[in-house]
């Protein structure tokens, strides 16, 4: 097969995965939140509302592509893609199995955080170009928040990198093979539990999820930076948000929960490994939705203070601790 064709097919597969994921996650979010809130969620379209998201996609696709007057046209149109494309790019680094990888990047972890750092730029563009004050406040909040929380997010996984000795996501998974004492999987969640807690908190903020959904806090900013967006442009923001939660959850599964490794079954076939990886990821997403259905929202200044004054020092201390322990063991 021509290498170009291969790359093209892989990119298409990633895009397909991302879109299917979006559809599944929207349905899942509605159902999970519904049941947390003593509701049923969608029930009408298809069996238990399974086709609801499809119907919504059709509706969004056929909706008028509306541009409010007095917006900054160019930025207004580009912003959804600036948010969408990085989250698509981040998919390419995720390993589903030894033989199921879009790309085997030596600095995969670094690459994922790198491309995700572009997202707040798009959010700020959207907020600014909308020429709406609520959108602008939402965009500024998002930028301040993501800068404050990207640092601890990256720092929180450095402990794992120290142990694994690699930034390659597949390599990080490989080092988690085997069992401790014959029955405990050698996942990094056990030695690196504090780092996982830091990762979870910073990840919630990175995803703009409750309790950190500052940029679109609906009871404060109406809808934040997506205020003026409708139709497919709005759908792109939404899709990016859902695929980001998949990426962060998949990263957590890879870095802390042994990725595609099936516990107590080292010779699992590739399809089973990929399934297990997806299940781990979806459990993570379920936890995110659980938090979303339960917690109230923190205030923006408290959020920033927490990020800079608590999370960053805590993650730095944890890296030091990990480093010292590694040296001592060595």
């Amino acid at each position: 097969m021509s290498p170009y064709l291969e790359v093209l097919l892989k990119a298409l597969a990633a895009l397909g995965l991302m879109l299917v994921n979006g559809v599944v996650l929207i349905y899942m979010l509605r159902k999970v939140l519904g049941h947390f809130h003593l509701r049923l969620g969608p029930m009408r379209v298809g069996w238990h509302g399974t086709l609801q998201t499809i119907a919504d996609v059709v509706k969004l696709l056929t909706k008028e592509d509306f541009n409010p007057s007095l917006t900054d046209k160019a930025l207004f149109v580009v912003a959804p893609f600036v948010v969408f494309v990085p989250s698509f790019m981040a998919y390419l680094a995720l390993p589903f199995h030894e033989s199921l990888k879009f790309a085997d990047l030596d600095n995969g972890l670094f690459y994922v955080f790198g491309v995700l750092a572009i997202v707040p730029v798009g959010v700020l563009m959207a907020g600014w170009a909308s020429n709406s004050k609520w959108s602008l406040i939402g965009g500024m909040r998002a930028t301040a928040q993501q800068i404050a929380y990207e640092v601890p997010l990256l720092l929180s996984v450095l402990g794992v990198v120290l142990i694994a000795g690699s930034l390659n996501l597949a390599e990080i998974v490989r080092t988690q093979q085997g069992l401790w004492l014959g029955f405990i999987p050698r996942w990094y969640i056990i030695p690196q539990f504090p780092a996982f807690v830091l990762f979870l908190i910073a990840g919630l903020a990175e995803l703009n999820q409750t309790p950190f959904d500052m940029s679109e806090a609906e009871s404060e900013l109406v809808a934040g930076f997506v205020n003026e967006y409708s139709g497919m442009k709005f759908a792109f923001f939404f899709l990016a948000e859902f695929s980001n939660s998949f990426i962060i959850s998949a990263l957590a599964a890879t870095v802390f929960f042994g990725g595609w490794l099936v516990p107590w079954y080292p010779d699992a076939p590739a399809w089973l490994c990929a399934m297990v990886f997806l299940i781990k990821t979806y459990v993570g997403i379920f936890v995110l939705m659980w938090i979303r259905g339960t917690l109230p929202r923190i205030r923006i200044d408290q959020l920033l203070a927490y990020g800079w004054k608590v999370l960053i020092p805590a993650s730095l201390v944890w890296i030091l601790v990990t480093g010292f322990v590694l040296k001592a063991v060595a």
Binding site: H37, P211, D213, E218, T294, P296, R297, R299
Partner: protein
């Protein structure tokens, strides 16, 4: 060059005139000439534009289409970044002319309008109106009628407070409690429907008594609700007040001193949260409240947290009162003998009840005909809302939502 200088002079002259004239109400002069009103430009507090760190202030419209303004409230906020410099409520989006319409309805028909004023606690407004009319007509209301009125008033108080609790949670960002509260409120609305025939627009309390006797299935329904209510209340309490994020969002936010509260005419839980224990049921007792045993919960600091605690306690007390009212329900007539068409003698009367939001008064002036000459409602939420001009500056946007939520406003009542 010349033009520019001239224009600068013109602008200076204009602003000097504006400063001098300010706000002219307009009207008719002694010579019979009509004078057009001169309105202040923009906000009452003109945006200061630039402060010492040279950031431009932003004036945003919070509402009338904003998800957390509890209806169609419109607040003009002047912001310095996230911080509020000035706030001003702009009202009237839900004005339906209830007071004016009442002047064209017979006394028996007004209840249906009053339900639509404070649509979360219709029984209270109806009771206040009925009391005012009874005072003018000097009707002796049978005891049982008062027991029924108070029973429904307390049931209605819990229902109204549950909506407040849910929407307050929504304002802070927690969606769960809202739907849990509505689940309980649904039971209360079923009870009210069984008794009155309507879920919210009752028109049940009439001058002279109530419309119908309590149906026999009411008591088991209420007792069933009360048996689960305590458990659910502690659940809500844990969901919100057991949450560190919630505590951080409400403690020390929106402090209203007792002096400010009294100066702005705050009543109800918003006043009691500031540590001023004043309740119409205790201070100017009506109905059978003097015979009942209940306490008035009072806060200390006057922040959102105190108002939250006071309202939660009020709900618990309302549940206890409901039990007392069920236990002591006497036999007898549910209404006095009143003529078909009420014609109060010329004169006026004011009667007030403690609605879930505070002192809800109705002032009726009669000219001896079968329709009131003038009817005026004292909506407690309007006075409670007025305090935001004073309280909001200095807090963040997110706090504004929490503070307005903690005051428990109902726009139907404010705009009438």
């Amino acid at each position: 060059m010349n033009d520019a200088a001239e224009r600068a002079e013109e602008v200076a002259a204009d602003s000097a005139v504006a400063d001098e004239v300010g706000h002219v109400p307009g009207g008719v002069t002694a010579e019979g000439e009509l004078v057009a009103p001169v309105l202040p430009k923009g906000l009452r507090r003109v945006p200061r534009g630039v402060d010492e760190v040279a950031t431009e202030h932003l004036v945003v419209n919070m509402g009338p289409q904003h998800p957390s303004t509890h209806g169609v409230l419109h607040i003009l906020l002047e912001l310095d970044g996230e911080e509020i410099i000035a706030a001003e409520a702009s009202l009237g989006y839900l004005h339906r002319g209830i007071e004016k319409l009442s002047e064209h309805r017979r006394y028996a028909h007004i209840g249906t309008l009053l339900d639509r004023a404070d649509y979360l606690s219709g029984i209270h407004t109806e009771t206040a109106f009925a009391m005012a009319v009874e005072r003018m007509l000097e009707i002796e209301v049978p005891e049982k009628a008062w027991w029924i009125r108070c029973l429904l008033a307390e049931v209605n108080r819990i229902a109204s407070h549950l909506v407040w609790l849910g929407t307050f949670g929504l304002d802070i960002g927690a969606m769960g409690p809202f739907l849990y509260c509505l689940r309980d409120r649904e039971q209360l609305l079923d009870i009210l429907e069984t008794v009155t025939g309507a879920r919210m627009m009752f028109n049940y309390v009439r001058p002279g008594g109530v419309l119908m006797d309590l149906p026999p299935e009411t008591e088991p329904m209420i007792r069933k609700f009360l048996s689960t209510f305590d458990k659910y209340m502690s659940e809500y309490d844990e969901l919100l007040s057991g949450n560190e994020i919630f505590l951080r969002r409400v403690k020390g936010i929106g402090i209203i001193s007792p002096e400010t509260a009294v100066a702005f005419g705050l009543t109800g839980a918003s006043l009691r949260g500031s540590g001023f224990g004043w309740d119409v049921r205790k201070e100017r007792p009506y109905g059978i409240y003097p015979e009942l045993d209940f306490d008035i919960p009072v806060g200390s600091v006057g922040d959102c947290w105190d108002r939250y605690v006071v309202r939660m306690e009020e709900m618990r007390w309302a549940a206890k009162l409901t039990t007392q009212l069920l236990d002591g329900m006497p036999a007898g007539d549910f209404t006095a003998k009143v003529p078909r068409v009420l014609r109060p003698p010329a004169g006026e009367a004011y009667a007030a009840v403690e609605s879930p939001r505070g002192e809800l008064g109705v002032h009726v002036i009669s000219d001896g005909s079968d329709k009131p000459y003038r009817l005026k409602i004292r909506p407690p939420a309007l006075y409670n809302l007025a305090v935001i001009d004073e309280v909001l500056p200095g807090y963040k946007i997110a706090d504004a939502v929490a503070i307005v939520g903690s005051l428990d406003i109902v726009l139907g009542e404010i705009d009438r």
